[in-house]
C-alpha cells in the first residue's frame, strides 16, 4: 500500500505519482469559511486555494507523504509559497506548467515532468523506469476512457445520469485514498448505470463551465429543474483529458502532450481559439440549450473567460447565466433565484 501524494491542479500528471507506487489524492477543500487560512493569505484571493489550506491547517487531510503544487495560476503560486510554511505535511514539490500549447511548451513541460519524477522518486523507494510509467499511463487512460464513454452515453440519452451523481463519482475517484477504493468507485458507478435513474429528459440541457465547480452546484441546478449534461471544469470533464496518439519513446513527452493538449483551462491564455472550438464542439455534440458559468470570486482567469463565453453564447444565440461563488457552500440562496429565473426562460 503506497503513501498518499496530494495534488490540486488538473495539469498534475497523476501517472507519475502512480508509477512510483504512490496514491494520488486530490485536494478539493472543504465546505464553510476559512478563518485560519485567512491568516496567511489575503481576503481577495481564490477561495478554493484558501479552502485547501484550511483543511491542511485543521489537519483534516489524511496523512500525505508529499504534495505536488502546480504553479498554474497566481493563487496556486502563492499557495506553493505558503503551503510548506503554514499548512502542508510532508514534502512540497512544485511544478511549472506552460500556458501555451506548442512544441516548445511540450518539450519544456516534459523536462519539468522528468524533474518532478526524480523529486518524487527521492521520496519513495524506487526509481522510475520508463516501462512503469507507460504502464501507469495505460492504466489511467483506460479509466479515463471509461468515464468519457459513460458521459458521452449520458449526453446521447442512452443512460440517465444526473450531473450531481457524475460529480460525486468523479470527486470520489479523484480523492480515492486507495487503488482498491478507486476500483470500487468505478464498479459502483457501473452498477448504478444499470439502475433506473431520475429521468431528466425534456429538461433544458445545460453546460456548466468556469472555475472549479462546487460539488453541490449540479445537484442544486437539477433540484431547481435543469439538467447538467456537461461540466467543463477542472473537477469535471476537463480532468478526463482527451485521447492522444500514443507516442513511442519518451513517456514524459507523451504526458506533456496529453495534459497540455487536453480541454484547455482558461489559464491557457495563448490557447483561447482552441477553447472556443472546444465549446463549439460540446454545444453541437451534446445539444446544449444553455450555459451556466460559475465565476469563483477573485479568479482573474474566470472573470475574463466569462467575457469570452459571453461572446460565444451571443454568437450562438445561447442563453447564459453567470453565478458568482466563494466556494463556501453559502451562496445557495443567491443562486436559487437566479437559476430558477434562468430556467423559466426556456
Amino acid at each position: 500500500m503506497g503513501a498518499l501524494i496530494g495534488w490540486f491542479c488538473h495539469y498534475t500528471p497523476v501517472e507519475i505519482i502512480t508509477a512510483l507506487g504512490f496514491i494520488p489524492y486530490r485536494l478539493l477543500g472543504r465546505e464553510g469559511n476559512t478563518p485560519r487560512a485567512d491568516t496567511y493569505l489575503v481576503g481577495n484571493l481564490c477561495p478554493y486555494v484558501k479552502s485547501c489550506l484550511e483543511t491542511a491547517i485543521r489537519q483534516e487531510l489524511p496523512p500525505l507523504a508529499g504534495t505536488v503544487i502546480a504553479r498554474s495560476c497566481n493563487a496556486m503560486i502563492h499557495l506553493a509559497s505558503t503551503w510548506p510554511r503554514y499548512g502542508g505535511q510532508g514534502a512540497t514539490l512544485v511544478l511549472d506548467v506552460p500556458r501555451r500549447l506548442d512544441e516548445e511548451a511540450v518539450l519544456y513541460y516534459s523536462q519539468n515532468l522528468r524533474r518532478l519524477a526524480g523529486e518524487l522518486a527521492w521520496l519513495g523507494e524506487r526509481q522510475l523506469e520508463d516501462s512503469l510509467l507507460w504502464q501507469a499511463i495505460d492504466a489511467w487512460e483506460e479509466q479515463r476512457s471509461y468515464w468519457r464513454g459513460l458521459l458521452a452515453a449520458r449526453a446521447r440519452g442512452e443512460i440517465c445520469l444526473s450531473g450531481s451523481d457524475v460529480m460525486a463519482w468523479l470527486d470520489g475517484w479523484q480523492t480515492c485514498a486507495t487503488a482498491a477504493g478507486r476500483d470500487k468507485g468505478q464498479a459502483g458507478s457501473a452498477a448504478i448505470e444499470q439502475q433506473s435513474r431520475p429521468d431528466f429528459r425534456g429538461r433544458p440541457r445545460l453546460m456548466l463551465a468556469g472555475s472549479i465547480l462546487p460539488a453541490e452546484l449540479p445537484a442544486l441546478i437539477e433540484e431547481w429543474g435543469g439538467w447538467s449534461v456537461f461540466e467543463d471544469a477542472c473537477n469535471g470533464r476537463r480532468f478526463l483529458l482527451a485521447e492522444v496518439a500514443r507516442e513511442t519513446g519518451d513517456p514524459y513527452l507523451h504526458l506533456a502532450r496529453l495534459y497540455l493538449g487536453g480541454p484547455p483551462c482558461p489559464r491557457m491564455v495563448a490557447d483561447q481559439t482552441r477553447r472556443q472550438q472546444y465549446w463549439a464542439g460540446v454545444v453541437d455534440d451534446y445539444q446544449i440549450d444553455g450555459v451556466i458559468y460559475h465565476v469563483m470570486k477573485f479568479c482573474d482567469a474566470a472573470i475574463y473567460d466569462f467575457r469570452a463565453m459571453k461572446d460565444f453564447c451571443d454568437r450562438r444565440g445561447l442563453p447564459l447565466l453567470r453565478l458568482d461563488g466563494d466556494y463556501t457552500g453559502g451562496a445557495r440562496g443567491q443562486w436559487q433565484t437566479r437559476v430558477e429565473a434562468f430556467l423559466e426562460m426556456f
Partner: protein, 258 residues
C-alpha cells in the same frame, strides 16, 4: 494638579474623558453628529461639568478617532491605535494584545512591555468584522443591535454563515430567515463569523496573552465569547470599553506634560 482631556471622535459615537492626576474625573459618550467640531466641544464640556472642572483648568487635550483632524482646540492629534494601547496599559499594564472593534475599523494591537505599540493590523477593505457589519445585519434581522449579545448567548448553536462579504452575508441571513432558522441562532452565527475574522487578524499580527478588548462591540458578550472560543483564551473587557480610546488620549496629553 494636572488636568487633561481626551476626545475620541468615532464614526458612530464621540467619547470624552477628563482625568485629574491620572484618575478619571469625568467621561461621556454621545452620538456623533455631522458637525464633529461642535460635538467634540459639547462632549468635552459635558465631561468637564461632570468632573466639576472649568475649561481654563485643562492643561492639555488630545484628539483621536476618525474626526480627530477636525478638532481645532486639541493640542495634539494621535491615532486610536496608540490611544487604545495607552488606555489599556493604564488599566492593565501586563496586557500584550488589544483588540478594538469599532464602528468603521477593527484592529489588533500588540504592545511591548512599556505599553508602546509594537505592531498592529487593521481590517481589510473587503472583510466584515466591524460594528458596522453587525449593525447592517441587525437591521436585516429587525433586532436592536444592543440586544444581539444577550440573544445570541441564549442560542444553543450558531447558524453557519459562510460568506464574510457584507453583501453575500446579508443574502445568506435573509435565506436563513426564510428557512425558519431562529433569529438567535443566526445572530450567534454572525458573531462567530465576526470572531473568526478578527481572530485571523490577531494571528496575522502574532497575538500574545493576556488579551483585552475595547470599543463598542466589546459590550456585546456574544462576540466576546465567540472570540474567546476562537483564540482559546480569556479576554478582559474593561467596565466601559467604549471610552478606552478617549482615556488613552487623555493619558497621552498628561504624558506630554511630564
Amino acid at each position: 494638579m494636572t488636568v487633561t482631556a481626551g476626545l475620541d471622535l468615532g464614526s458612530l459615537t464621540t467619547k470624552a474623558v477628563v482625568i485629574r492626576d491620572g484618575v478619571i474625573a469625568g467621561s461621556v459618550v454621545m452620538k456623533s453628529g455631522v458637525q464633529s467640531e461642535d460635538i467634540a466641544w459639547r462632549a468635552l464640556k459635558a465631561a468637564l461639568d461632570q468632573a466639576g472642572i472649568g475649561e481654563e483648568q485643562v492643561d492639555g487635550i488630545v484628539a483621536t478617532g476618525y474626526g480627530r483632524v477636525r478638532v481645532p482646540f486639541a493640542h495634539h492629534k494621535v491615532t486610536e491605535i496608540t490611544c487604545h494601547a495607552r488606555g489599556i496599559y493604564h488599566l492593565w499594564p501586563e496586557v500584550a494584545t488589544v483588540i478594538d472593534i469599532g464602528g468603521q475599523d477593527s484592529k489588533v494591537i500588540l504592545l511591548d512591555r512599556g505599553g508602546k505599540v509594537r505592531d498592529f493590523v487593521m481590517n481589510e477593505k473587503c472583510a466584515a468584522g466591524t460594528g458596522r457589519f453587525l449593525e447592517v445585519m441587525a437591521r436585516s434581522l429587525e433586532v436592536n443591535v444592543e440586544e444581539m449579545g444577550e440573544l445570541s448567548l441564549a442560542a444553543p448553536r450558531g447558524a453557519s454563515i459562510s460568506s464574510m462579504c457584507t453583501v453575500f452575508a446579508e443574502s445568506e441571513v435573509v435565506s436563513l430567515v426564510a428557512e425558519g432558522r431562529p433569529v438567535a441562532e443566526i445572530i450567534r452565527g454572525l458573531h462567530e463569523a465576526v470572531a473568526q475574522r478578527v481572530a485571523a487578524m490577531a494571528s496575522r499580527v502574532g497575538w500574545e496573552e493576556p488579551v483585552a478588548m475595547t470599543g463598542g462591540v466589546a459590550k456585546n458578550r456574544g462576540v466576546v465569547k465567540s472570540l474567546e472560543d476562537n483564540l482559546g483564551t480569556a479576554i478582559r473587557v474593561p467596565p466601559d470599553p467604549q471610552i478606552i480610546g478617549a482615556l488613552g488620549a487623555a493619558l497621552l496629553a498628561a504624558d506630554s506634560k511630564k
